[in-house]
């Protein structure tokens, strides 16, 4: 996280030295854009807070650990699609599930949908790209994640 601030800070300072006016304009643009999208972020956060309450880590472990592999893959991609978790939470969780015996393909479906499919980020994505494109992109991403999961299963010897 800190490196992001260091880099942004440095770039900002260099920009300021080269051209004061342009830099002030850039900051202005940043503020205006942020203000415009902020209410949508709040909407999204409200969704996140409720969804995460309904699907806490323990529940996710339960869903992914019990039942047949293929049902687990479907459940995993479903849960991955509707929840939102930063990588620093999702991967340790997947690591734990792995040691509990959850197949790689199930975790692959979970992490890939988590990263690529965003039902929760829908309000945000639609603000920028419209409803139609958002639906298409997420649907495509869902199937890409399924393909990744199946191929992971093949390579880890979990399917055949």
């Amino acid at each position: 996280m800190y490196y992001a601030y260091t880099i942004t800070g440095l770039v900002l300072i260099i920009s300021f030295i080269i051209n004061k006016q342009k830099t002030l304009k850039a900051v202005k643009i940043a503020v205006v854009k942020f203000k415009k999208i902020f209410p949508t972020f709040i909407t999204m956060l409200i969704l996140v807070s409720i969804i995460l309450f309904l699907f806490p880590d323990e529940a996710i472990s339960n869903y992914l650990g019990n039942s047949s592999k293929f049902i687990s893959v479907l459940l995993a991609s479903f849960i991955g699609s509707i929840t939102l978790m930063p990588g620093f939470v999702a991967f340790p969780l997947s690591g734990i599930l792995l040691t509990k015996g959850v197949p790689y393909m199930v975790l692959s479906a979970f992490t890939t949908t988590l990263m690529m499919v965003g039902i929760i980020t829908f309000p945000l994505e639609k603000e920028y790209f419209g409803v139609k494109v958002t639906v298409i992109r997420n649907t495509i991403s869902f199937f890409i994640a399924l393909a990744v999961a199946i191929i992971t299963g093949i390579f880890f010897g979990e399917i055949f």
Partner: protein, 174 residues
């Protein structure tokens, strides 16, 4: 006031009311939801200011012709390589990818490149990928990248072509 704004005010205030009532009466689910909200709010406040300042600088400094040349209609394979490299180095996932993708598009990047950027920002950020291998192993991550990245590029090209044929335009002024 627009109808949408009114609806938003109603549900945001009922959400806040619910959280306050939960705290007053010690209703645990409500407290947990409040905790979730606050922790994600802090997480976002950490990444978003950086992202938007960089977007602002990008809009001011980078010339439209540069983006058009390297990521626009005439860009070819190199354009995809550039945009994947760009996505790989920027933190923050989809939340940050959407506004950046939007700025790229407004500067003249073509649609298939914009969608490739979003996909790549989701799956192949370098810091996250390294972190992933430490928990899941190199084989797992390698399969994921080698399968998903080509699929992201192919589907982005198909989607870009499909939308260009239908004269799709992204909303303005966001």
């Amino acid at each position: 006031m627009k109808r949408n704004t009114k609806i938003k005010i109603v549900y945001v205030s009922s959400y806040i009311l619910f959280l306050i009532v939960s705290f007053v009466f010690g209703f645990n689910p409500g407290k947990e939801i409040a905790f979730n909200f606050i922790s994600f709010f802090i997480y976002m406040l950490k990444i978003l200011p950086c992202a938007f300042v960089l977007i602002g600088l990008f809009e001011v400094w980078v010339k439209k012709e540069v983006i058009e040349k390297h990521l626009g209609e005439e860009s070819g394979i190199k354009g995809y390589a550039w945009v994947i490299l760009l996505a790989g180095t920027i933190a923050g996932g989809l939340l940050v990818a959407f506004p950046i993708a939007y700025s790229l598009y407004n500067k003249g990047a073509k649609l298939s490149i914009v969608f490739t950027y979003i996909g790549a920002a989701a799956i192949c950020r370098v810091p996250m990928t390294l972190y992933e291998t430490s928990f899941m192993g190199v084989k797992f991550t390698a399969i994921r990248l080698l399968v998903s990245l080509p699929l992201v590029i192919i589907t982005s090209i198909l989607l870009g072509n499909y939308l260009s044929k239908r004269n799709y335009k992204i909303a303005e002024g966001k």
